[in-house]
Assembly symmetry: D2
Homo-oligomer: 101 residues x 4
Amino acid sequence: MLAQFTIFPVGKGESLSKDVAKILDIIDKSGLTYKFSPMATTVEGDWDEVMALIKKCRDRLRKTNDRIYTSIVIDDRKRARNRLSGKVEAVEKVLKRKLSK
Amino acid sequence: MLAQFTIFPVGKGESLSKDVAKILDIIDKSGLTYKFSPMATTVEGDWDEVMALIKKCRDRLRKTNDRIYTSIVIDDRKRARNRLSGKVEAVEKVLKRKLSK
Amino acid sequence: MLAQFTIFPVGKGESLSKDVAKILDIIDKSGLTYKFSPMATTVEGDWDEVMALIKKCRDRLRKTNDRIYTSIVIDDRKRARNRLSGKVEAVEKVLKRKLSK
Amino acid sequence: MLAQFTIFPVGKGESLSKDVAKILDIIDKSGLTYKFSPMATTVEGDWDEVMALIKKCRDRLRKTNDRIYTSIVIDDRKRARNRLSGKVEAVEKVLKRKLSK
């Protein structure tokens, strides 16, 4: 399945870049395939792997923050694999078709 | 923590009421405090309790559906309890103050 | 259509209750049917009415905040009206059926 | 401001790729800077530009679908520009620092 998530502390200074760096490090070490976009991170894995990763991110932020906001969106499709790149390639095909017209 | 979630199959008939009923039953039997609103359900519990419940809802839908969409938003505040009713009461206070003016 | 939304400043003090009060007042005066739940507000109206309301909420918060986070989820169904109460009643029917068994 | 959005019909066939193509075309012609990721599209623009674009996407889908689900998340920061690439560059810096260690 694909899971897109965002996690940030509420009620701290405006710049969230330090927290993003911590979280990024945890995601990178998880071994799951991921893609970072400006508003969220998308990871591919099964339910338990993905949820364990998000919990780890949250536990790390909780060490230094009293209130944390998390948003998770899951697209869970039977027998679907390699969708993180697959979905992007499908869109690139559409774009190429358009450009070549 | 408070978790607001929505879960529904993608690519089936337009009416989702039967699936909502199944999910509702699972939530009701979980023992967690919950509140149903038109677009989502909010439950109160710790991380593992809440995530176990959402996984159960998803497992149930997966029995009869090939693609499932899940959205979860978590407001996780240290030492905060009874916030499901607390947040609503806080708002009702604001409303009463307004009405009595 | 039904629109569930959440709007809050990022990078201010932890308690958001004052901002919630301001927003609530704007929603209440909009004339649209609404329902407040612990994590979000759901309003019923057509696209332009709902978006005008959310923009008004955001403009109000922007007066005193430099960074604002907004989340909007829309369930837009043709020819559907009075769904704010309708959806809740449909669920209550399911609950009653369960309780009477 | 940055707006990440997802829009899809509920209750049609499982594959959403055709609808994605239509939407992509509308986004591409809007003139706004955008970034496509596996679960959502992020665009940069001011409130009215972004909302006009999302409405256009929804109007297109409504031509052939009776029920549409839309999710919008907005990160609205005063005086911030070129954040679509800026945010990604900030993260790439963090990644490089990590790799060079």
